[in-house]
């Protein structure tokens, strides 16, 4: 199994979710994160004092997937989350040795 981690633009989240659902991904875990990268944050002004906000809000998605689906899942995310503008984010894949469904204790593929 693999763990696919994707960091995308927040307003793309809904689309990505739908695309993955259609593909058959039944579950994922989502986190509100802040991104730092080429896409620069913006400048806010409070009583004439300017602040550079370096971080940009992003959505981080974690999906544990069956080996076989990995490339498709990555592909779907990249396709759907793409706007072509800087800050679209990253997707990375890491190995997972085992997974368990807490409710049933089912393991690995069965746990997804």
């Amino acid at each position: 199994m693999k763990l696919v981690t994707a960091v995308i633009k927040p307003h793309k989240w809904e689309e990505v979710r739908e695309a993955l659902e259609t593909f058959g991904v039944t579950g994922m875990t989502v986190t509100e994160v802040s991104g730092y990268g080429r896409q620069k944050g913006h400048t806010e002004v409070y009583r004439g004092a300017e602040y550079d906000i370096a971080l940009v809000p992003k959505i981080r998605i974690e999906i544990v997937v069956d080996e076989a689906d990995t490339d498709d899942v990555v592909g779907i995310i990249v396709k759907t989350a793409q706007t072509g503008r800087i800050g679209d984010g990253k997707v990375w894949v890491a190995p997972v040795e085992s997974a368990v469904r807490v409710r049933t204790g089912e393991r690995d593929e069965a746990a997804l």
């Binding site: 944050g41 913006h42 002004v45 971080l55």
Partner: protein, 457 residues
């Protein structure tokens, strides 16, 4: 002669209460927006407090209560803007009425903003407001309260059809709520819907703020309604003032009796409307919501505004429960017809304003249909309501289109996604850094404000 000091003390209190209503509205509306739009929403209210005050002092009072532009005494459309320009040489006794009345102009303009949340350039709003109050609010205030075309004054609209039926708008059902509601509807149609309207979740980001706003509005509304008492008030001329009175038992009796009744009626209708709205939700959705309670409160306050001097407490409860229930249903319409009246200015203010203004025709203890008064009052009320809708609709449309093709109303779609608070004001509303600071809190550093130094230099 002189104004009674007890009455004056109450008018000073009332003016201050109504002034507070606009910040209250900023919270009622601000809580309903998404968290990326709350500051802009509030700024539309605060901005109105700034710009309307200035124009009201310059020509607003003169256009509302100055002698008729087409000759004194004429039941005309607006007062002469130059007669009392800048409040130069007005009688000192009139300042207190200016105080009270300018707060009405402010909140009416601010009410409109709820219809166009999240998507409008602040600069365009700040240009729209002074023009709109000049063409729509001041004239209607003159017509209804300044002895103009919608008052009982000879030559006025209703006097063409009836001899002695006087239109009733105690505190602003037509001038304030129908006017603002209609303006909101027209603006929405001209400006269009928010990106993602009807698809994305656009839930209130801070319902307690909306409850706070409702509470402050309810509180301030006592100034709005009860402060509209006019010595020997004849319905329809509330707000007209400056009349001098000897302090006398007879005045005191009139003052205590009428203000007491108006206070009780205002409360009765508001409470009943809250229950009415909650009831509709309970039946329709299975649960009564706090947003519904807050909305019902406002719907009730709107409905009783024109009627608070003409009904009995029980009659006020009847009006209130109807207004609350009808508005609770009306706010659903926008999804049906697809116009993005974002915070339901139409559903609440236009609808409840009509319920109240026309409801007087049924429930007025003096001559309402249910009290055997026949249809004449009902017809008269409908006439002024319709006229107010037309006037507001036409002038708002003209201004809205003019601005659309000049400054433009909308921010871009990308900017809507980014959030109008940042785009238009360079700010974000909240920074809930955890105790030792969040990444966003810590992230980035002060750019020692060279620009401001430049200015200092």
């Amino acid at each position: 002669g002189s104004m009674d000091t007890g009455h004056a003390a109450w008018v000073l209190t009332s003016a201050s209460l109504v002034l507070l209503m606009t910040p209250g509205l900023a919270f009622f509306y601000g809580g309903m927006t998404r968290s990326k739009s709350v500051l802009n929403m509030m700024m539309m209210s605060f901005g109105a407090m700034g710009i309307v005050t200035v124009v009201y002092i310059l020509w607003g009072w003169s256009m509302s209560y100055g002698s008729d532009a087409f000759g004194a005494g004429k039941a005309g459309l607006f007062g002469n803007p130059f007669e009392l320009f800048g409040l130069e040489n007005i009688d000192a006794g009139a300042y207190i009425s200016v105080a009270f009345q300018l707060t009405f102009a402010i909140i009416t303009a601010a009410l409109v903003s709820g219809a166009i949340a999240d998507r409008v350039k602040f600069s365009t709003w700040m240009v729209f407001v002074p023009i709109w109050v000049t063409l729509s609010y001041f004239p209607l205030a003159h017509m209804v309260w300044g002895g103009g075309f919608l008052s009982g004054t000879k030559g006025g609209l209703v006097t063409w059809f009836f001899d002695n039926v006087v239109p009733v708008d105690y505190a602003g059902g037509t001038v304030v709520h129908i006017n603002a509601g209609m303006a909101g509807l027209v603006l929405v149609l001209v400006i269009g819907a928010r990106r993602g309207f009807g698809k994305e979740v656009m839930r209130p980001h801070n319902i307690p703020f909306t409850m706070l706003g409702a509470g402050l509005l309810w509180f301030g509304w006592y100034g709005f309604n009860v402060g509209s008492f006019v010595p020997s008030a004849t319905p329809g001329v509330a707000g007209k003032s400056g009349a001098m009175f000897e302090n006398s038992v007879q005045f005191a009796t009139n003052f205590v009796g009428e203000t007491g009744l108006v206070w009780v009626n205002t409360t009765a209708a508001t409470a009943a409307a809250m229950l009415g709205w909650l009831l509709v939700e309970k039946i329709r959705d299975g649960k009564g919501t706090s947003l519904g309670a807050a909305s019902g409160v406002v719907a009730g306050l709107v409905a009783i505004t024109p009627a608070c001097g003409a009904l009995s407490p029980v009659g006020s409860m009847v009006l209130g429960v109807v207004a609350g229930a009808v508005a609770a249903v009306a706010v659903g319409m926008k999804y049906r017809f697809g116009y993005d009246d974002s915070l339901d200015v139409v559903g609440v203010h236009l609808v409840a304003g009509l319920v109240g203004t026309i409801g007087i025709g049924f429930l007025a203890t003096s001559d309402g249909l249910f009290y055997g008064g026949g249809f004449s009052q009902l017809i008269v009320q409908t006439m002024i309501a319709v006229f107010a809708m037309l006037w507001s609709g036409v002038f708002t449309l003209v201004i809205a289109l003019a601005l659309k093709y000049t400054m433009g109303w909308r921010i871009t779609e990308e900017e809507e996604v980014e959030g109008i608070d940042f785009v238009e004001h360079g700010e974000t509303a909240y920074e809930f850094a955890s105790r030792s600071g969040s990444p966003r809190g810590a992230a980035g550093s002060l750019v020692t404000s060279s620009k401001s130094e430049g200015v200092n230099a």
